[in-house]
Symmetry: C2
């Protein structure tokens, strides 16, 4: 076929072949096909007619730039790497989708690494930004090493401190405080429905706000208003029953899980108690199931978390390599979503 034209030893079409075909230098081709063609401040003054010819040649030859070669010069891969541990988790899918939406229009491709073992891969593979959703205990040093290598990391973690990398946190605590305040505005007899573990550990995010709320309001902590359950739906339902099936029952329930809150609502309905009137219920997690149930569940959850994560990731990916190597923390306080179960 084309034995005299280019140099098609490899299947790949190079910039050189395009240049030859268009009758220009490789530099012009590069200017037109990648960087600014007719806009640039300095250079890039490529006659629009030449530009057209170049683009035609590229099209005809089916040229596509070799990103590896480009990367070596520019330092950019036009790629964002997402290291996700639990790919089956809807959470991971939400991350992917959000980043996808932000990045693709800018020509940045999100790639997923489905492996808890990011440390090994990220050492050699490059990306304009990397997201890591799980850091084991000993791995803190590896993060710092990667950061020193100039890698742009965004790490999802509740405690880790940023050392050259960005940290993003999803904080349930503030939202739980809001939930309690919401109930305290109208109620005095507020029960809690929580896990055994949260109570034992005095979980600062989900359990303590209950105690603090009562204390600040000058209300007593009543043992009989404290019900715990262990995972199973049955157990949560039973716990709610214990709470509600008594003469002096609470007028509000603060459940540390949406799922528990839903059980509580079911229990109440079973007892003929009208949720939203005789009983207010709030949950934690702001799940879709809670929002969909009747009455819709008032709950707390992170809002816009995925979008913000995507924004940060893309921002860091675009930021020049020498740029802000600050490494900060972005905290994501959960917020209250008032719905029918507790107006």
């Amino acid at each position: 076929m084309n034995s005299a034209s280019g140099a098609p030893r490899s299947g790949r079409v190079t910039i050189k072949q395009v240049a030859q075909r268009a009758g220009v230098s490789t530099a012009s081709v590069s200017y037109v096909l990648s960087g600014r063609s007719g806009i640039a401040g300095r250079n890039g003054g490529v006659a629009s007619e030449t530009a057209v010819r170049i683009r035609e040649a590229a099209e005809e030859l089916g040229y596509a730039p070799d990103l590896a070669a480009r990367k070596i010069r520019t330092g950019r891969t036009e790629t964002i790497l997402l290291s996700l541990t639990m790919l089956s988790d809807p959470w991971a899918l939400a991350v992917i989708e959000a980043v996808q939406r932000r990045a693709m229009p800018l020509g940045i491709t999100p790639m997923i690494l489905a492996d808890a073992d990011w440390a090994r891969v990220l050492k050699t593979h490059d990306a304009d930004a990397m997201f890591i959703d799980a850091v084991a205990d000993g791995q803190q040093g590896e993060l710092e090493a990667l950061a020193r290598q100039g890698k742009k990391l965004v790490v999802f973690h509740e405690q880790i401190e940023p050392r050259g990398f960005e940290v993003i946190r999803s904080l349930a605590g503030p939202g739980c405080v809001l939930a309690m305040e919401h109930l305290l505005a109208k109620h005095q007899k507020i029960a809690i429905l929580t896990t055994e573990r949260a109570r034992e550990n005095r979980d600062p995010a989900r359990f303590l706000p209950y105690l603090d709320g009562l204390r600040r309001a000058g209300l007593p902590l009543r043992e009989e208003y404290l019900a715990t359950f262990d995972r199973s739906p049955v157990s949560a339902y039973a716990a709610a029953m214990r709470l509600l099936d008594r003469p002096d029952r609470p007028t509000a329930i603060y459940a540390t899980t949406d799922f528990a809150a839903m059980s509580a609502i079911n229990a109440a309905q079973r007892l003929g108690i009208t949720v939203g009137e005789d009983l207010d219920v709030v949950g934690v997690g702001n799940t879709l199931e809670g929002e969909a149930m009747a009455p819709s569940l008032t709950s707390v959850g992170p809002v816009g978390f995925f979008d913000e994560l995507a924004r940060i990731l893309v921002e860091r990916a675009l930021g020049g390599s020498e740029n802000s190597v600050t490494g900060g923390v972005v905290e994501f306080p959960w917020q209250l979503f008032i719905r029918d179960s507790a107006r």
Copy 2:
């Protein structure tokens, strides 16, 4: 810090810095750190002591090769790209896991592209092999274009013909034939539980084997033994009930879905019919749920599919670039797994 030693303008440690620190040339470093150091036929004669010094230097500096730079010379990315459309599907997770297991020990990293729009990305991004799990109607040409670019593609599709790329098929048909034969060995009154769609289209894979089986056995097609359902579990359960809750009920059910087969078993149990004795049931899909239920479900499914897919992918990734650009078809006939629901 190290202003006099290397050239650390960028955060990245290069082979040059390692060379300088070890007091050798970059060639030696390259030989030691990547290719064969003391084995090679020709060159590679690096004294083991020097090799140690080089490795130490690399270690101290935290050197990691730039894969992009390496790729440009070797043409290899040490990466396999998996374009997966339905990441939430267990099927996709199985693909990932299988490839992971095969590839990682060989130093090949699987990367996932969570985007139906592979055509755009794959044009510029490189990988030693690429897997595509979904091809839309118009996209056939794009596959060929990519193949011409020298890209190694493995495409999962039932009909597409290989043109420069590999095609892998998962064929339910043969398995369904086996399932019917299994039932025909012991039964004469065999019912089918299938979807409305499969019946209308006379699905060659899952529906026709039922008709053909009856015909070959010289059995009549009885309308009352043909029950259809539409998606919902409820619907499948009801259809099974219609089949079983009659005087002259079938002694075997061929269900075109594991999920429907499970509904049938439930229905039978509800009616006091002992599955595996009074009634044999086979499903299609060979899901884990079916295997786990009691009685365990006899079913047909692809065996070793994911492993084989992974093998092909890795093989193609390792194969030299000029190598077998054959492009063949690998068919994966489903097989019968006999369990308690139909011995």
